[in-house]
Chain length 209, copies 2
Amino acid sequence: MSEPATPASVPRRGRKSEMSRGQILDAAARMLRRQGYGSTTLRSIAEVAGIQAGSIYYHFASKDEIMDAVMERGVRAVIDAVREALDTLPNDASHQRRIETAVGAHLQALLSHGDYTSASIRTYGEVPVAFKQKSLQLQQTYVALWQDMLAAAQADGAIRQDLDPHILRPLLLGSLNWTVEWYDPNQRPVEDIAAQAVDMLFHGILPDS
Amino acid sequence: MSEPATPASVPRRGRKSEMSRGQILDAAARMLRRQGYGSTTLRSIAEVAGIQAGSIYYHFASKDEIMDAVMERGVRAVIDAVREALDTLPNDASHQRRIETAVGAHLQALLSHGDYTSASIRTYGEVPVAFKQKSLQLQQTYVALWQDMLAAAQADGAIRQDLDPHILRPLLLGSLNWTVEWYDPNQRPVEDIAAQAVDMLFHGILPDS
DNA sequence: GTCTATACCTGGATAGAC
DNA sequence: GTCTATCCAGGTATAGAC
């Protein structure tokens, strides 16, 4: 899933500015993923980005602004990937097929934009609400997408009636999101994880009886 | 944990010390859960514990030492609960029954020792390895417990042969651990979450075909 | 055991030269 | 656009009175 050259939300600026901004975000995402919000310093971000700490303020007004930008990009990478994958399906695709597609796209995006998505997940519960205005909204939109998809499937009898979607959804997304903490690309392709996750989700772990 | 009776004339590590130590840990766990490692300050811990920052150093040598103690207690609460629940089962309990019991005990412990377990989970990936020596070992022991339980079940044909336990295990534990981020005790009892998690794990979400 | 006082350092942020 | 230099608040940790 390749990035659009210019995210719609970012105002157009010169090429050099764009580049540094991107490097700062990359560096911030990397540090946030590894150390969390409180231990990530502007000085260390600057060092990784190859500039001086003071220079950051040409691109961002504050540390919080960097935070929010990183988290937004993390969530957006996932939501865009899932939406696009769902939109690509034929209109008459089954609920089962839609869920399978969403799980695959979610995992693929999550694990290929590792630093941003991991930073987003890890940092999310750690920062005050005021510091994550933009990412918060996106995140809620994304949750709603899943909730609606699952509810629709259940309404059509495509998933069991006796399950509570408000428990199912966080259990499922939690399982997927946690992969950023343990997945190792050198061990297995993402597809293997996705395939087994879907299989378990649909059929459970007991042998066919 | 009650103190053994000790003659009044013999100095010992008394009740007062134990108490403050406990309050410091409680406060630390609460802050760590909410803010993560980097944003949790000794001053704020002291404030919540109702003492002065300097006084902490009578009980702990450094911030890292508090950290490790909190995380260790978080992991220990869960591992102890799961072990005890498994030990209470009859010797001939089925694999299915054992897994069900472990999931229930894990969730129950996780969500009832909220601050310690949440702090442990959140902080775990955020601090250098040197700061979590004691908790790290425990955590590995706990993972091994699950891995063995699942492998044994699979060897006996109690769970599907075509699933990879090294994928199954982190997917499952991730799903359970993530509950600390969304579970609200005012909405539903823990038992409901546990029951549905086990049900989904065993049978999947598709309707009986 | 806890306090007060304080040393020392590193954090985010700003100003002005280039 | 980036640098250097710097301000000041707040961090961990220590010392010594009580």
